[in-house]
């Protein structure tokens, strides 16, 4: 088992999925407070046709070019969601549901066509659905690492601007922060995180790596800074641990293991999270009840006695 860790390729893959998890956890917090958790899921599904079309054009599996295809396709999806919402009376969740399924359906259709063509099923494009971190080669790892670091850096640099933008955009505008610029930057960060993750985690599950760490982190803290940090850590641990477990078996997909790992951390947070966890709430309630009984009942008893 430990011999797996000695494998230098796996070390790199583990490191890159960890950084991917950190980036996803960070951006996930932004999406969580922008009330757009489902947006990341729609964008991920919308990325699939872009990957396949990019492969059809370049006819080789260069991750960087496939990522660009994915990004273009995801951005078109985002644009459609925006347009449908503003031009019609259709609400955002309906628009996302439509774009998500239509783009994913289109992606699967194209994928089937590619796989039928000569040599197509050797393309490894199927890995983009559930993710296969082990299929990444050294240059893929570097591409992913670099982009993930840029994403993390952009959030760190403008941290307090992101905070006020998420909490009170009207007030942020009054301070001179351009809301269209922040909206644009947010979409770019979201799309980048989604597309660099699709090879390792897959288009279906990458959104979970953004949503679950953020929700879990919220159970532990009342500080935005700590929430982002925790979310990044939970994302990073899920990424690395999930990848490691999936590497134990041959051909096991990475995405599901990462997501299940993240879900376990969510369950832990839900139960024992320091600020909003169920157990903590129950204990606080019990403590309050005990204190009330100890302090108030004798007093009430005495007053009643005195009244008699």
């Amino acid at each position: 088992m430990l011999s797996l860790l000695a494998n230098s390729n796996l070390q790199w893959v583990l490191f890159s999925t960890m950084i991917l998890g950190v980036a996803a956890g960070t951006i996930g917090c932004l999406a969580y407070w922008k009330k757009q958790s489902l947006m990341s899921d729609s964008l991920a599904h919308a990325a699939l046709p872009g990957v396949v079309i990019a492969y059809m054009i370049i006819e080789t599996k260069d991750l960087f070019l496939l990522i660009i295809g994915a990004a273009v396709s995801a951005l078109i999806g985002a644009f459609f969601i925006q347009t449908i919402q503003s031009l019609t009376r259709i609400t955002e969740d309906t628009a996302m549901g439509m774009i998500l399924s239509v783009f994913f359906g289109l992606g699967i259709m194209l994928l089937t066509i590619v796989n039928r063509t000569a040599g197509g099923n050797q393309s490894g494009l199927n890995n983009f659905i559930f993710g296969q971190a082990a299929a990444m080669i050294r240059s893929d790892v570097f591409t992913m690492l670099l982009l993930a670091c840029v994403v993390i850096l952009i959030v760190v640099i403008g941290f307090k601007e992101w905070k006020i933008y998420l909490f009170d955009p009207d007030f942020a505008k009054g301070l001179g922060i351009s809301i269209p610029f922040m909206n644009g930057l947010y979409t770019v960060l979201l799309v980048t995180t989604v597309v660099i993750g699709i090879q390792a985690v897959g288009v279906i599950l990458i959104a979970a790596l953004m949503i679950i760490p953020a929700v879990s982190a919220h159970y532990w803290t009342h500080s935005f800074k700590v929430m982002v940090l925790l979310s990044a850590i939970i994302g990073g641990v899920s990424g690395a641990l999930g990848t490691y477990i999936s590497a134990l078996g041959s051909g096991w997909p990475t995405g599901p293991f990462i997501v299940v790992t993240a879900a376990v951390m969510f369950l832990i947070s839900l139960c024992i999270g320091k600020e909003r966890g169920l157990l903590i709430r129950y204990m606080q309630y019990k403590k309050q009840q005990r204190m009330y009984v100890q302090q108030r009942i004798p007093v009430q008893f005495k007053t009643r006695e005195a009244e008699k």
Binding site: W33, K35, I157, G158, K160, E161, K163, I164, L166, F167, D168, D170, F171, K173, G174, L175, G176, H218, T221, H222, S223, F224, V226, M227
Partner: protein
Amino acid sequence: MENSVLQVEGLSAAYRKNTVLDDVNFSIEAGTLTGIVGPNGAGKSTLIKSVLNLHPKLTGTVKFFGTDLKAVKKRIGYVPQRGSVDWDFPTNALDVVLMGLYGKIGWLKWPTNRDKQKAMEALEKVGMADYAKRQISQLSGGQQQRVFLARALVQDADLYFMDEPLAGVDAATERAIMTILKELKQAGKTVLVVHHDLQTVTDYFDHVLFLNRTVMAYGKTEEIFTKENIAKTYGGSILGLREENGHVIITRK
């Protein structure tokens, strides 16, 4: 007008298909405390938002201190409606007040101890110093409103816009907020307040702006807060009006 800090000309604005503001003209003098009153849906909040460019204008020009908003952004403070943000956001009262200083702190820099001290002073002024480290969702509505006011105070602006700061707060908070607004006025600042309670207009504001899609009347409270103007603005929706020693008394039936 020479002394005008805010000049609005021919302003109109719409939500989707409905025009909510139509040819609004007024000019606010420095050092005044103005109440903006009108029925629900009269466009009171929209007026503030369009003036501050938070909502797109259809037509019209707005001048602040004789120039454009961009040039004088730092001299303008805004207190949004309490319901406009999610109070579950993980942050505490002190942190929210510090946000008022973000514009002055600038990108890439963190608030200093001096900034935190300023924020604490503002919290003290609104009587919330003891709640500085309290998570904002654990504050009552009135306390949240005070925190918003403190955030505007640290901006140290010359012209303040406040959207319903007295909505849904208890009597003690209302008194505390009004004391601060009057202090601002005495310090030479100009304050515009969207207000919903006609009973208190004469006590609180030296100027009043009646709004219903357009300016129905604007001027000194003692001159224009009359039965006629109220009836004109609110239509038939307020029935009992009588005048008593120069005060308009509203009795709802």
